[in-house]
Subunit: 328 residues, 2 copies
């Protein structure tokens, strides 16, 4: 069993490039549909932020700090570093009596065009609040204060990361084969793609127990605040808006994408083998259309799949399409 | 025969992403070494600009216009739109009695950080001179003036593009199966990867005839002016400098890369199936090391292959490596 042909870039009458990958749809009982290899081991990267946020709620830390749904959405976000994200995380830290310097995510220029331009043209450096993972790290700091842990909360053996690992292995129902260091310096635990899809199905079918309630709060927060989970013009935000908040979706670096469909009780996880975001966005769009929660004709859907690709003079040069055997 | 595993992104102890592709090395007699499928049909995109520039010289248009090696290098370039590129092409058009408005390449923001910042912070729009293909188009305009053709020189049936097609089919020794419209609006003719590598081998073994002399001039111009072929921090410029101008290399969109090795009499062409530039840069680096023209320990080589990948806090997270069976 190997990867499946999924997304093709066509130019003129010829397929110019091809993206292979693995995609799994699970319900509460297991795999419903699969393309490629369910046992493929991957790093979920940022696609598992809602899993990494479970201990924040289950420990009681979120309630002790009085976190709002907006803050929970930021904890699950890979945000654009726009003013609302930077202020949201900055205010959160202030409420904890902490500062940007307590973060361990590092700094990078924000994707948000306005904030990027502001920093560029004022020769100002970005701060750690601009890091797309700063909300997740504010969540780590909130949990860490509750657990009274040490300052270096991204160390793999730190109690915060061990709590994340425990939750991750429980919801994926797997013992993780190991971790890699993520762009934000936190350990990112590996799992099979089926394990990740299984976890997303659990978020889509939350029980009434403590974990189920935590899953429900996180999914509701993501669906209620798509603008906080990513940002204007970003796929997670645009796709969640296009589906009217019925579905939660989250991307991860190196072309991972997950979806949580509460009304259908389904969880989706996919990984494009080569790590291309254009292909993971097209593939999750194809699956959401396939599952009947996104209209193929929706302008947002067409922006990621099947819509015309135009060059600098507006001429149509080609399009991104699904491969035969992968839903379009 | 299918694509070969070529470049792998490793994170922690695990392969996170994989890039497959095709790569061919030819000498004057044909294929010397191949990975993947030599018959794979591709769009060479910008990797064939030195082929597209042949009619410019062979027609006598270049000499009639008194073009310098710097202008010939710009004709083969996918430049960064830095001041030296914009001024170089602008001066060229002025010398022809033409203007930026005669170009048909369209405009996009330049890659060059300084020029990009200047435009961004002055709210100035980029012009067609900033287009990475503006030098190729200045070459088209120079040929067009010589041929007394119509203004719409990018039309596939225009005599300029027909002259380009004829040269392309002659040096690839193939009848092109067709064309796609490139980002710069010019038709980009398809060929097999073997055909492209064969053409590069001809550039590496130019005869004394008119075509051989034209090939020699273009390769010499590229090797003499690596800063004009791409720009500071770009792979073509950095790799040509690292090899002391002994080898000409050129990238193309969707992960095509070619190399011309005159001293070895070899031509190289490769295409990463998924179109990822990080992988085409790593793969051409691996092949140049394999052919003994680039030191594996050279900082430039390590920037594209095997060097540590660091995150926002400088922590090493992984590296790009060659797959087993592909040279490293």
């Amino acid at each position: 069993m190997r990867s499946a042909e999924m997304i093709e870039l066509w130019r003129g009458d010829m397929r110019e490039s091809l993206h292979r990958g693995h995609a799994i749809i699970c319900d509460a009982h297991g795999v419903v549909e699969a393309w490629g290899k369910p046992s493929q081991v991957i790093y979920p990267r940022s696609s598992c932020k809602m899993i990494q946020a479970l201990p924040l709620i289950e420990s009681g830390a979120a309630d002790a700090a009085g976190l709002t749904d907006r803050q929970l959405a930021l904890a699950c976000a890979s945000h654009s570093g726009a003013a609302l994200h930077v202020q949201g995380v900055g205010g959160w830290l202030q409420g904890l009596g902490m500062a940007e310097s307590d973060l361990r995510c590092g700094s990078h220029m924000p994707r948000d065009p306005a904030e990027n331009k502001r920093l560029t043209c004022s020769d100002e450096s970005p701060c750690q609040l601009h890091n797309n993972c700063s909300g997740k790290h504010a969540g780590f700091l909130t949990l860490n204060r509750h657990l009274k842990g040490g300052a270096e909360y991204v160390a793999p053996d730190h109690r915060v990361q061990q709590a994340v690992k425990a939750a991750f292995e429980e919801v994926t129902e797997e013992t993780s084969p190991g971790f890699g260091i993520d762009g934000c310096s936190a350990p990112n635990w590996a799992c099979s793609l089926e394990g990740l899809a299984r976890a997303m199905a659990r978020f889509a079918n939350p029980g009434q127990d403590r974990r189920g309630q935590a899953m429900q709060r996180l999914v509701d927060a993501m669906r209620a605040h798509p603008e906080l989970v990513a940002g204007e013009g970003r796929s997670c935000t645009a796709l969640m808006r296009a589906m009217g908040g019925a579905v939660a979706v989250k991307t991860g670096a190196e072309a991972v994408f997950v979806a949580i469909l509460p009304q259908q009780g389904l969880g989706v996880a996919l990984k494009i083998t080569d790590g291309a975001t254009r292909a993971s966005e097209a593939a999750i769009t194809a699956i959401l259309i396939h599952l009947g929660v996104l209209e193929a004709g929706d302008p947002v859907a067409q922006a990621y799949l099947n819509g015309p690709i135009r060059n600098w003079r507006g001429m149509v040069t080609g399009s991104l399409r699904t491969s035969p055997g992968f839903p379009s």
